[in-house]
């Protein structure tokens, strides 16, 4: 009998896939680009040893973020998608065991990411040649990165096994990774005063803090960076790595054990996020039900179930549903379809409220030290990034799900026109995001004005905030259009969101760094901050405008064609995110 048959098969499939080799080459090339860029830009004012350390440190940090993101990107939806499509049960009709499937899926989903990381590691050794970085440090960094990636994909697999819905799988993965990587160290810092250096605290508190810290890849990363600059906590570093590895194996083992028990639909999902959400929902439900349930009235039906309560929270009661229908259906039926989940805007407000609470907690805990430019910038970056990613997901979701389910073609068989569908979706996004965007802009304004140097506002400070705010609003608009287009043409919401975020959010930065590098190579240094800022805004707006315009044109002309993709013969898939005219089929009827 072959050991782990699916793993073997997936490895053979991956070996035949061009993407495996391309992703590997791209990862190494990207790492070279980062090194080249740093050498060209910072080499003028740093001694060689410092350059080497900076390159090593930056590259390690970038690869660390990449490794952490792999769980959400690669494995979070690999089992849950099979559950939704009903194909998982077929595997269990064979002799395969849970661990066969979990390890096979892990190999299939994460192998490309692992190869990419592996390809980038030799590039990490280049600083070794420059001096200032030791072989020990390189070994530690490599172990840390591989371990972090394993942890991330293991968490993704665990969440995927426990979820049916892709949103739930993704949020459980991200939530668990953030919890272990960042929240646990933060709690440990508060509990034991571990990092603050203010007071050592009692030994038992320190032990608790250490126990909270050890599983965190973030803690190991922190130790690695501090050791690089002279710290000496080698035992703790390897201990943290071992704990994270054990935790990752525990996640995988649990996933393998649970998979044969949860592949059928009726099994209840009890991921961490689900448990937490369930607990909160039950508490709210209890508060809501108490005034209604204290006295049994004659003829009263049994008390409503939690599921009914959640439905009511999401869509409103019968009257509220009808009122919303009456109001929106006559305006634009698709607007109602895309906006009928009342909880969607509420969740954004809840997110903003949670951030506000965290901010207040940070301010109370850290005191005056908290109020500094770095905190302001980090706050704005977090808010902007979260809302941008959020709108990319929401813009792509409705069209993607409706196209895949076949519901979109039913809508298109009615006299509802393509412009009406697009307008309805855009207005739904507006209802969901317009007010939070205004609030975030107000927060930006407050944070911008909160910092003054020598009782004066710094021009560069104000300029960079203004640029950030302009790009934020523009990106939200671009992402709405580009997200819709990607939702229509992509295989899944995740793929659509990734592409939209990649083109609108990441590509301008890549082009910006390329521009700066070329300027440095050509000895045309952009020394003025205003010029650098204008370059970044210019690139961001240009890229976004091109992408959004192309998306808009494609949506207007090709929505009908893509809505019934399953009837078209399978063409070559295109990596080009702006779409390509399919020339083997005549156009659909648009009138």
């Amino acid at each position: 009998m072959t050991l782990l048959p699916i793993v073997g098969r997936e490895l053979r499939v991956a070996a035949r896939r061009k993407r495996t080799y391309w992703s590997r080459t791209s990862a190494a090339a990207m790492a070279f680009v980062v090194i080249g860029w740093m050498l060209l830009t910072v080499s003028r004012w740093m001694p060689p040893e410092m350059i080497s350390r900076s390159i090593f440190s930056t590259l390690t940090m970038l690869l660390f973020v990449y490794a952490l993101a792999c769980g959400a990107g690669a494995t979070a939806d690999c089992i849950s998608s099979e559950k939704r499509e009903g194909t998982l049960g077929l595997l269990f009709l064979t002799d395969l065991k849970g661990y066969d499937i979990v390890l096979g899926k892990l190999a299939a989903s994460a192998l490309g990411n692992f190869y990419s990381l592996l390809a980038a590691l030799p590039v990490l050794a280049i600083p070794l040649l420059l001096g200032g970085v030791s072989v020990d440090e390189l070994v530690r960094a490599s172990a840390l990165l591989v371990n972090t990636m394993f942890f991330s994909v293991a968490v993704g697999m665990w969440a995927s096994v426990r979820s049916h819905d892709d949103r739930r799988a993704m949020s459980a993965t991200v939530g668990m990774i953030v919890l272990i990587t960042a929240v646990l160290p933060a709690v440990a810092a508060i509990v034991g005063g571990y990092f603050s250096g203010r007071s050592a605290g009692s030994s038992s508190m320190n032990a608790i803090a250490e126990a909270l810290l050890l599983p965190s890849p973030g803690f190991a990363m922190g130790l690695h960076q501090s050791m690089q600059f002279g710290g000496a906590k080698l035992g703790l570093f390897w201990g943290s790595l071992a704990t994270t590895l054990a935790l990752s194996l525990a996640f995988l083992s649990h996933a393998a054990w649970q998979l044969p028990r949860v592949w059928q639909d009726q099994v209840k999902e009890r991921s961490f996020g689900h448990l937490l959400g369930n607990l909160i929902a039950r508490l709210v439900h209890a508060v809501w039900q108490l005034p209604r349930a204290w006295q049994k009235k004659p003829g009263q039906p049994a008390s409503p179930r939690l599921g009914d309560f959640m439905d009511r929270m999401t869509y409103g009661n019968t009257d509220q549903r009808k009122r919303l229908r009456d109001r929106l259906l006559d305006e634009n039926p698709y607007l109602w379809l895309a906006a009928r989940e009342r909880l969607k805007p509420v969740v954004i407000w809840a997110f903003l409220a949670n951030l506000a609470l965290l901010w207040i907690a940070g301010a109370v805990w850290a005191g005056d030290w908290f109020f500094n430019p770095a905190t302001y910038v980090m706050t704005a970056l977090t808010l902007h990034s979260a809302l941008k990613y959020w709108i990319a997901t929401e813009a792509s979701r409705r069209l993607n799900e409706d196209r895949r389910s076949g519901a979109l073609e039913l809508v298109l068989s009615t006299p509802l026109t393509v412009p009406e569908i697009l307008a309805g979706q855009l207005r739904a996004l507006g209802r969901q995001f317009a007010r939070p965007v205004v609030v975030v802009l107000l927060i930006d304004l407050i944070l911008m004005l909160a910092y003054r140097e020598n009782q004066r506002y710094d021009e560069e400070w104000i300029g960079s905030w203004a640029a950030g705010m302009v790009v934020f609003v523009a990106d939200m608009w671009f992402l709405a259009w580009f997200g819709m287009w990607q939702g229509l043409k992509s295989k899944s919401v995740h793929a659509a969101t990734r592409t939209a975020a990649g083109v609108i959010l990441v590509l301008p930065w890549v082009l910006y760094f390329c521009g700066m590098t070329l300027a440095a190579i050509g000895r045309a240094h952009i020394n003025s901050f205003a010029a650098a800022c204008a370059l970044w805004v210019g690139i961001s707006l240009t890229v976004g405008l091109i992408a959004a315009t192309m998306a808009r044109n494609n949506l207007s002309t090709r929505l009908r064609l893509l809505a019934m993709e399953r009837y078209q013969p399978a063409g070559k898939s295109s990596w080009w995110p702006f779409g390509r005219k399919r020339d083997d089929a005549p156009p659909v009827i648009d009138s």
Binding site: L329, P415, I589, S591
Partner: protein, 319 residues
């Protein structure tokens, strides 16, 4: 003064050399089809024969590569909006919004057809009653059985009171009871004056349901017309069954000796007789048997079913 005759009513569906290709693959090859108003037309063909492509062109989803199609005189490629108001299209596989209530679902599609809010409530109630789902009006669509979802799909295509229904495999995947109920609803709709085009693989049901059929293979229309017409047209090699009181082997021998009979063979104690082309006079059977001293106890014609007709006229090349 001579009275001008009333204009000829336009056919519900008319196609003229309708052609559609997907790259090198020809899905429809110069299809000329006419369906009269009020017909219940059964569209028959193997998988990949071109049925769904035809229905999708009529539903304004696909543009023809060549030729044209008209629905009540409106060109589907040029006047898509008007056509969409006149048709109700139900694909073979359609997505439902599982988290909607039945009423919400119909209300939404009624709004897509621009039915005013005042009328929508009554319209939804009427179509739910027609398809027998009134009891389920408050249920979630996802909680309905497959048969009920199909009926809800039928209710959806009826909300705007279309003149023509395009139903692609409406009974696929349904259990026998749900199929019978679906057929009953279709009968009722025909009685109400709707023109219905139904594509199905369950030919025995189409045989009793439809008054006209079209048989398509490899994108070409092989036959289009009344169900009885196709039987008559295909009735080459007419088959009779014969039972005799005594020796069946002797009867076979006697029948084979007649030039009008192409084949005779014993099957389960009976004799299956196939006439030669151009011969259909059953009296020769009795004559031959009586002349040979075999007592005839039973004689009946094997009526050609739609399935038999389908198998005869197609070769299953598109399966």
């Amino acid at each position: 003064m001579s009275e001008t005759p009333p204009p000829e009513p336009k056919p519900a569906v008319q196609t003229f050399g309708l052609t559609r290709s997907y790259g090198p693959m020809l899905a429809l090859d110069h299809l000329d089809l006419t369906i009269q108003t009020g017909d219940l037309f059964g569209f028959i063909g193997s998988n990949g024969a071109g049925k769904t492509t035809t229905l999708r062109i009529l539903a304004t989803f696909l543009a023809p590569s060549a030729g044209r199609a008209e629905i009540f005189g409106h060109d589907v490629a040029k006047d898509g909006d008007a056509v969409r108001r006149m048709i109700g299209y139900m694909p073979d596989f359609f997505g439902v919004y599982k988290d909607m209530e039945v009423t919400e679902y119909l209300d939404f599609f009624a709004a897509c057809y621009k039915i005013p809010a005042r009328q929508r409530e009554n319209t939804c109630a009427d179509v739910l009653e027609l398809v027998g789902l009134t009891e389920k009006r408050g249920a979630l669509v996802g909680a309905l059985s497959r048969g009920m979802q199909q009926r809800l799909g039928l209710a959806r295509v009826l909300v705007h009171d279309p003149k023509l229904l395009l139903l692609d495999e409406p009974a696929s995947g349904l259990d026998p009871r749900a199929r019978i109920e679906m057929m009953a609803v279709l009968h009722e709709l025909q009685r109400l004056g709707k023109t219905i085009i139904i594509s199905s693989h369950i030919l025995s049901e189409l045989q009793t349901l439809c008054n006209t059929v079209g048989i398509i293979e490899k994108g070409k229309l092989i036959y289009s017309g009344p169900v009885q017409g196709v039987r008559d047209q295909m009735a080459t090699g007419l088959i009779y069954w014969v039972t005799v009181a005594s020796d069946a082997a002797r009867a076979v021998e006697l029948l084979r000796a007649r030039p009008e009979i192409a084949a005779a063979e014993p099957v389960d104690g009976q004799v299956k007789v196939t006439f030669a082309d151009g011969h259909r006079d059953a009296s020769v059977l009795a004559e031959a048997l009586l002349a040979g001293g075999v007592k005839l106890t039973g004689l009946w014609e094997d009526e050609l079913g739609l399935e038999e007709v389908f198998l005869r006229v197609t070769r299953g090349e598109t399966q």
